[in-house]
């Protein structure tokens, strides 16, 4: 097996408190980022449509054109879908570009599928925002390495606002 995100920070961000392990029958919604094709070509297309000196400037692609270009290979589809359905994943939804798959699994199924993961519930601040995350790293079968970029919903916590209310500025000698 291999770890898709060995360098992802997995410490509990300030302000979050653990409420303990999640019941193994609870349901999780996890997002699988499938390996795309033709990313290099996509980069060149972006340059062509964004460079005022290019004859293609402003000639943008539609979502369907982009889907045509980056959609994962049939092998990636088959491999990932076989892997997920064997694990009991259900209600899987894709997107137009077919490079993301969101599925529902029980905690038990997810912890078997993503070996090493351990799901806990966390809560933050007065707004009582709840999340379910795993601070432990997850591993995937090596056979998935060419097909999955990462799995969303395990390690990253929602951000906090950086807006601040500053004290009213004091400018000497002007407005009273």
């Amino acid at each position: 097996s291999y770890s898709p995100e060995p360098d992802q920070q997995r410490t509990l961000p300030p302000g979050w408190v653990s409420l303990g392990r999640v019941d193994s029958e609870e349901e999780l919604s996890l997002t699988f980022a499938l390996r795309q094709q033709n990313v290099e070509r996509l980069s060149k297309l972006v340059q062509a449509v964004s460079d005022p000196g290019s004859p293609h400037y402003g000639k943008y692609l539609t979502l369907e054109d982009v889907a045509e270009l980056v959609r994962p290979s049939p092998l990636t589809f088959r491999t990932v879908q076989k892997w997920l359905s064997a694990a009991g994943a259900r209600n899987c939804h894709s997107v137009t570009t077919q490079d993301f798959l969101t599925c529902w699994l029980s905690v038990r199924q997810a912890e078997l599928l993503l070996s090493g993961a351990e799901f806990h519930r966390y809560v933050r601040g007065p707004a009582e925002i709840h999340v379910i995350r795993s601070l432990r790293p997850y591993q995937l079968p090596k056979a998935l390495a060419p097909h999955v970029d990462f799995v969303g919903g395990l390690h990253r916590f929602p951000p906090t606002s950086s807006l601040r209310q500053r004290p009213e500025p004091q400018v000497s000698g002007t407005v009273g």
């Binding site: 898709p4 919604s29 799901f119 707004a127 990253r156 500053r166």
Partner: protein, 368 residues
Amino acid sequence: LHLGVTPSVIRQRYNLTAQDVGSGTTNNSQACAQFLEQYFHASDLAEFMRLFGGNFAHQESVARVVGQQGRGRAGIEASLDVEYLMSAGANISTWVYSSPGRHESQEPFLQWLLLLSNESALPHVHTVSYGDDEDSLSSAYIQRVNTEFMKAAARGLTLLFASGDSGAGCWSVSRRHQFRPSFPASSPYVTTVGGTSFQNPFRVTTEIVDYISGGGFSNVFPQPSYQEEAVAQFLSSSPHLPPSSYFNASGRAYPDVAALSDGYWVVSNSVPIPWVSGTSASTPVFGGILSLINEHRLLSGLPPLGFLNPRLYQQRGAGLFDVTRGCHESCLNEEVQGQGFCSGPGWDPVTGWGTPNFPALLKALIKP
């Protein structure tokens, strides 16, 4: 004289007249997204426009809200994003994306990326207040999200990200201090917006650096060719460069542009709140002004601006007020004493090319 930034102050400073509003006859549209699990209240927007929207045509409500709304208290960020996007980009159809109500095991920002990959008809301009330290994210995640921004750029969407509110940032790597870049601000496929203050906080005057304005050099993404010349110019001429060990001079440098980020009035939960500051204020302002330029382009039968950076750097920031005074914050130590980069003539990693001068920016960007 003024007692804090309101739409009138923004429109005066950036030379927006009462005529500089959406025509209501095009398919122009804009959106703001925040992932703080905050609610947006339509009643706050109506109250804000009643208080501050008297001298320009504007829409009283948003065209679409993505994500459950209404039950919880409104959040200042959600309120501020909408109120200033719809004041700068006045009378233009506006979407609000805020993610309350998602399942506990989902990542709000990732859900927004899935939305981009699933809707054919999206607004042309998206202003996004979200950022994480680059070093806290896995390379698999960062690279994939960067590809999602490429997909949006290929479709002609303009993505504007706040540059962050910690100046150059600071962290310790093997017991040595370094500046700490932020992502998605450091993605080469988005336009990043820094922050400024008025030189005199009670007057509409020259802008100087707001010391919180995020900026610097990516440790993940190499410098894109479109900005090499501008960055080399800065590095060879700035009299206040920090020690080179603090930053990666060959990385993607940001921000690209800036706008006022200090001392805003916001209406949230029916209460007018003064002196709100952050680059999540400057981002919707700049986004709204780009929407106005898209309005003129669409009326002339031209495509929307799309991914702006190649053109912005090619035109060397034409149409922007150059901000040349002030420095942003960084590490509090003997070596740099809390000072990161300083602004200077032309592009700099604190305010980019500068802040929008609408008539001049329109002239620079209306050409095919």
